[in-house]
Amino acid sequence: MAQHTRKGAQFQAVTANRLSDGIVVYLTADAGWSESLQDAAVAEGKEAAEALLAKAAPTVENNTVVEPYLFEVAREESGIRAASVRETIRQAGPTVRLDLGKQAELSGVHG
């Protein structure tokens, strides 16, 4: 599997798939989940990242999401950006069938 994150990544966020429908979600600062990466809580440094991931645990317990994990992001003027191709595709949909779904809604992301 392609790497989700990189050792020594400066900024990281937490993502998972929602249990009921599998949709990609991001952990927010108040330990909720949002479909938008722009709502994600971003942790700086390893310790903060681990602490952020720990916040997700109760929502696994209560069957909101499955398999949360950390991934690398960058903070840019335009907002939060996923560092890897894989996470960019999870965020903004496939790079094909651009007429549908998130690919259509977030049409700037795949460039």
């Binding site: 392609a2 249990l19 009921s20 069957n63 499955v66 191709v85 595709i89 790079t95 069938r97 779904g101």
Partner: protein, 552 residues
């Protein structure tokens, strides 16, 4: 076509009810994800990058129009209006919600379909020749024993927890369109001098991380012994297959490690023991019952030549191109086999919208005895069309963007979902196939190049059969960047070969040019009448290497 009897229908209905309970318990938290995952996989439900994915079994690739209409309906109701036909003749939905899955499967069951044996370490959905019942030189319709194997293997307790998944493919003609030599078991239907039908059995083929070509261990297994023989193979595998290492668990590794001779010896010993026990003798009445479902449809007596067809070919050059590439010879005079390409220029190989499915269902109902086939090359086939109807079929297909004339040409590529959908992927495969398709869109150029199969996979699991593409493209991940490794000389037919790596991988920006260079090297080197694969076999990889990397 095979129709469910009361037992078939009952087990499918019971399975839906059981899964409904499991989903409810998962959603309420009674089952943890770890407990639930193997259960959902047994019902064809994966979790992919964006959503759940459901893989629907299409046994040996045969569908009725009614079933295809149901698939269209499910795509609209539970998904985003399309599905993806795969190299295993299955259909995948990319976005159904887990909570809807029981309802979806219940609707599917009303047309005698399910998602059983599409995942997990069991004997998977059996695949076969899309030309079954229509091909010239067919010894026996391969769907008959495919159906026998389906009935025998479904929920067989001994084969539900194998060391790893297990794939069986059957071919009824000497021309292999089912890639039987890259399956765990490949069955070639043969006939002896007295006209008796029997089976050649190949074992230990497979793709993935360690591609292997199957070895023939059975030369002529008589019909009534087939299940006992297969059972012997499964027992040897169950006993000695590596359960300790997922990468070594497939039967291909076992066969490779002990050798084909030893495998043959073990299977024969087990087979002899089974026969002594008096176990599984395939009841020929049961075979006859199943056979009856696959009797030829009511073909008309027609002249082999059709003046309507000949006139239309002269009048319509688009149609002429389509006839040239998409039509295959039928065993009955006056009939033809129609291949429907799911590879429009720049499209996603294997994708089909619900509207297109409905259209194909209508066309199959009107012109091809109400049934159709899915091919392992991710296309559809209408097996029995009157030649005089070909132009009408073409016109009807054209209205739905289904008349692309490219079967077996360079734009008729296989591609797995890759990183656009798949959680295991290293790189995207669909966009690469699309760029190649666009580069070679010109139909005259495609015909000039001739038969050429490009297969794309997004990771080493090889769902896109890259090892056996004449040109194979494998997506790899180098420090977060997508790269593409090219192999040449693979083939999946009766001369199966695993492609050879041509050299260092290419970037996304370079790969299409690299493919074009390979094609140009072939065009500059070929002799009269040679296909790409023939030239490759004659000259080897060197000239391709030289031209590709000379400028680097």
């Amino acid at each position: 076509m095979y129709r469910y009897d009361e037992f078939d229908q009952q087990i499918v209905n019971e399975r839906v009810a059981q899964f409904r309970g499991q989903v409810a318990r998962r959603l309420s938290g009674e089952l943890t994800e770890d407990e639930f995952k193997p259960l959902r996989l047994m019902n064809g439900v994966y979790l992919q990058l964006h959503a759940y994915m459901l893989r629907v079994a299409i046994p040996y690739g045969t569908l009725s129009s009614r079933q295809l209409r149901m698939l269209a309906h499910l795509g609209r109701k539970y998904d985003r209006g399309y599905g993806h036909f795969t190299t295993r003749q299955n259909l995948q939905y990319n976005w159904p919600a887990l909570k809807d899955m029981p309802d979806l499967l219940a609707e599917l069951a009303t047309v005698e379909m399910h998602a059983i044996q599409t995942s997990g370490n069991c004997i998977r959905n059996v695949t076969s020749d899309q030309y079954a019942g229509a091909a010239k030189a067919e010894i026996e319709d391969p769907r008959i024993i495919s159906e026998v194997i389906r009935q025998w293997s479904t929920f067989h307790p001994e084969f539900s927890f194998l060391p790893r998944k297990f794939k069986i493919a059957v071919s009824g003609t000497p021309d292999d369109r089912a890639a039987i030599r890259v399956h765990d078991i490949g069955i070639q239907i043969v006939q002896d001098a007295k006209g008796n039908v029997g089976y050649e059995v190949y074992v230990g083929g497979g793709l993935g991380r360690t591609p292997m070509i199957g070895k023939k261990i059975g030369d002529f297994v008589p019909k009534e012994d087939l299940l006992a023989y297969l059972e012997a193979v499964m027992r040897v595998y169950n006993m000695y297959g590596r359960r300790d290492n997922i990468y070594k668990a497939r039967i291909k590794i076992l066969v490779h490690e002990i050798g084909a001779e030893e495998m043959k010896r073990q299977v024969e010993a087990e087979f002899a023991a089974l026969k002594k026990e008096g176990a599984l003798h395939l009841p020929l009445e049961e075979v006859a019952r199943i056979e009856a479902y696959f009797r030829p449809p009511a073909f008309e007596e027609l002249p082999n030549e059709s003046t309507e067809l000949n006139k239309a070919v002269l009048a319509d050059s688009g149609f002429a191109n389509w006839v040239k590439s998409n039509i295959a010879e039928h065993k009955v005079p006056g009939y033809a086999i129609v291949n429907i390409s799911l590879k429009p220029i720049g499209g996603t190989p294997g994708d089909c919208s619900s509207d297109q499915m409905d259209a194909v269902a209508d066309i199959a109902e009107k012109y091809s005895f109400d049934e159709l086939r899915v091919t392992h090359e991710q296309n559809l086939t209408l097996a029995h069309v009157r030649k005089k109807d070909l132009h009408a079929v073409y016109e009807a297909l054209k209205k739905h963007d289904l008349a692309t004339a490219n079967i077996n040409l360079i734009t008729d590529q296989i591609a797995c979902p890759g990183l656009d959908y798949c959680a295991l992927a290293n790189a995207r495969s669909i966009p690469i196939a699309q760029r190649i398709s666009e580069r070679f869109a010109d139909i005259a150029r495609q015909h000039e190049i001739g038969e050429l199969k490009i297969n794309n996979s997004g990771c080493i699991n090889a769902c896109g059969h890259h090892h056996v593409g004449h040109i194979g493209i494998l997506g790899v991940d180098k420090k977060g960047v997508e790269y593409y490794q090219v192999t040449l000389g693979g083939a999946a037919d009766e001369k199966t070969a695993i492609g050879e790596i041509v050299g260092p991988a290419f970037t996304e920006g370079e790969i299409v040019d690299a493919i074009e260079k390979i094609v140009n090297t072939y065009l500059g080197t070929r002799q009269d009448g040679e296909r790409f694969i023939d030239t490759y076999r004659r000259v080897g990889i060197e000239p391709f290497k030289e031209n590709l990397y000379a400028a680097h």
